[in-house]
Subunit: 501 residues, 2 copies
Amino acid sequence: MADHALRLVRLGIDTHQEPVVYMRADCHVCRSEGFTAHSRVRVTTDSSALVATLNVVRGDLLQPGEAGLSESAWTRLAARSAQTARFSHAPPVESLSAVRAKIYGHALTEPQIEGVLRDVAAGRYADIEIAALLTAFTSAGLSLDEIVGLTRGMVAVGDQIHWDREIVADKHCVGGLPGNRTTPIVVAIVAALGVCIPKTSSRAITSPAGTADTMETLTAVDLDLPAMRRVVEREGGCLVWGGAVRLSPVDDLLIRIERALDIDSEAQLVASILSKKVAAGSTHVVIDIPIGPSAKVRDAQSAAILSRLLEQVGRQLGISVRTLLTDGTQPVGRGIGPALEARDVLAVMRASPDAPRDLRDRAVTLAGEVLELAGHCAIGRGESAASAALSDGRAWAKLQAICEAQGGMREPPQAAHRCDQVALGAGRVLAIDNRRLSRAAKLAGAPSAKAAGISLRVRLGDPVESGEPLFELHAETPGELEYARGYLDAHPDIVRVGAAG
Amino acid sequence: MADHALRLVRLGIDTHQEPVVYMRADCHVCRSEGFTAHSRVRVTTDSSALVATLNVVRGDLLQPGEAGLSESAWTRLAARSAQTARFSHAPPVESLSAVRAKIYGHALTEPQIEGVLRDVAAGRYADIEIAALLTAFTSAGLSLDEIVGLTRGMVAVGDQIHWDREIVADKHCVGGLPGNRTTPIVVAIVAALGVCIPKTSSRAITSPAGTADTMETLTAVDLDLPAMRRVVEREGGCLVWGGAVRLSPVDDLLIRIERALDIDSEAQLVASILSKKVAAGSTHVVIDIPIGPSAKVRDAQSAAILSRLLEQVGRQLGISVRTLLTDGTQPVGRGIGPALEARDVLAVMRASPDAPRDLRDRAVTLAGEVLELAGHCAIGRGESAASAALSDGRAWAKLQAICEAQGGMREPPQAAHRCDQVALGAGRVLAIDNRRLSRAAKLAGAPSAKAAGISLRVRLGDPVESGEPLFELHAETPGELEYARGYLDAHPDIVRVGAAG
């Protein structure tokens, strides 16, 4: 074994989450093991081991006797400089046979699914293998049993939070509707009324902002479990990023590839949502499903299927799920992007005169549903209770208290570079393409550039003059502003203006 | 644009075929363009451009003002050291919407498929996107029209050879059967009888030898198109490596990911085979489909489906395809590995007394089919014509002439290091594991070590004594011999000997 050892070198290359090992083409390990590019290699130190994808190096990037590691490989292995490691062919990943079975249309058992998820979580899958898995889930589809298995598997592979309460409320939005940032408002209202709502949210997957991205412009969201518990004990609610508490961690690994591929599977969506709810210890969950031609769910029929799946899988996992089908024909509020959406939230909470009415209404409806599902209000009384808590400042006080408990509240940033997109002709706003609007916001830098995004000036049905601004583009760098503008020039019809039919 | 320029550095990292660009996290281009890990980046020089996946570098691997390129990026871009390049976000790849449509089960049109293939060939797809494409093809399946479209698209994206002849014959083997090196014999026979057969072959992909690897031990195979034409004009046939003439180049890009995922799609296989035949200008093609438990096609039913598809798609593309289902339960001939297979071929051509009978029989059958399909012989007369040309030395003279025309004929090399694998008990040979036998030959160095591989001493049903040699291992270095022996020790049952049932 001694001659299969090499000294580890940190090359500082960030390959995203896929671990990569770099080895000289002429090294004795490469040659005797028969490694070629794209081989999977097992790296073992005294204390740790991982499987990485091999990149072969020619030239003098590495000295004889050295092997390089990517940042993710270095971190996962907890390697030390000049530490010695042993190298061998990665053992075959047995669970990949289940992926292949799924590709060929066979149903998977719960143990097979859990095996796949464990191997993904342990980093044993190459990115192209995760891509194949997700494509097969979407293309071949999953049965109800498989979705239940997928959800349970996702829960099993991560941590679980247990709250010492009978009722733990939660809300979720299926997404796809830019600016639909009701969560902070709903949490503030529900917690203000004494119903426990320890909310963990995700960062953006394919959208220009997730709730965690938006909340991060107001306070710290990267709390670990003990810190989250302290906030919830004190305030009865929180608004943190779910990733720090390792709930359903495999979901994040899958989502990373799902995002790069820009695909969504219903089954994957249901498992993703419900596994995080179960792992977070939620008992009563309201799910907002916006419907619109360019929202994530495009028609009432798909919404009904998804709604039914969520309720069925929820039942099998022992939680009460209520879905709410909502209008998804245009963005909610004005802002699209983390900071811009946070501004809308603050305007509603502070009852500013220019607060977006549609965002307030949606949040109140959802909060009312949560209050009713959790048994805090009688059926039909939730919405008025929610509205009252918002109007009289209790919700706003609660949001501030939660942000303070999470580490202090701050104002969202402003973008340094902006420009208006104007109407090319007069008429009424006939349609808004949510997907392309989101894409433009992302090209402008959202969500990683927090201040970047789009601020809408018009809504469906509004009359506009030629040359009047339809929306404003926000970016943190001139390059990003230019890039988004290039996209808008190629797609001038994102906000369609014309003669009303 | 000047401040989006960086000096190119060749890092010597072989990421296989996916082009990767390495940029410092703190460089002005990264920051102003908002690049993050896994972004797709467009790199433009004065003379060339490509799209690459971004790896962000922290630390001092690169100096400020530098950008690194992987080997494939460097080659594609034909970059020079310290050349300046400009960097920008890659434009969205429009054809990915067709991939998504396929994932969701929609049929693709021929222009959609061609669009996808053009973008793959141009390097605009990341590996995970190719993985999703191949998985969708396998999982959702392709209709006959789609397979025809895929085949035509693969042809359209590469070069095409036009021969000024009415009949251009070809033969192909679906593969998976070690030692099945009939091609040189078939070409020699067919060309000797005056039927034009300009054969392009591949190098080994997953096997210990491809026809091009084997032929390379006898003559030069790396001919460009004009050189290939000269050989064919003179001899009516050739035996060259197809890679030098860029026939269906996108196929190689797909196969690389298909192999890493270990999935086979029938549709993909049919398009892969026939696109190369059409691009090579073939009009009459015989395809050998070996069937066996450890061959590529495992049962008669799969073979029948594949056979039907090949014939149907061939018809739509205007070529005559005839398939031949053959026995794939054990290796053909004795040798496995480039030089060892070449020795078998030479023994058959020279009619040596120890020539492997099974190899001769298969080659004669296939050559007979080609002669009949091409109209040179009446139905039922091909095999005897082929056998005669082999027996009377015409085929051997033709093979020598072809090799001379390609640059001169040589004898295949002999391995310096060998050892016997002996039977541990007495009995009959009950089974031979083709896959593991191939793996052992590869571990011994094949196909890159030309003399390496395995020489079989027994065939199914042969009686053996304990201690009698089952096969001989050949390697060019003692290390490789040891490595292959280690594998054989771990798998003593590759040739299974026991009491006949």
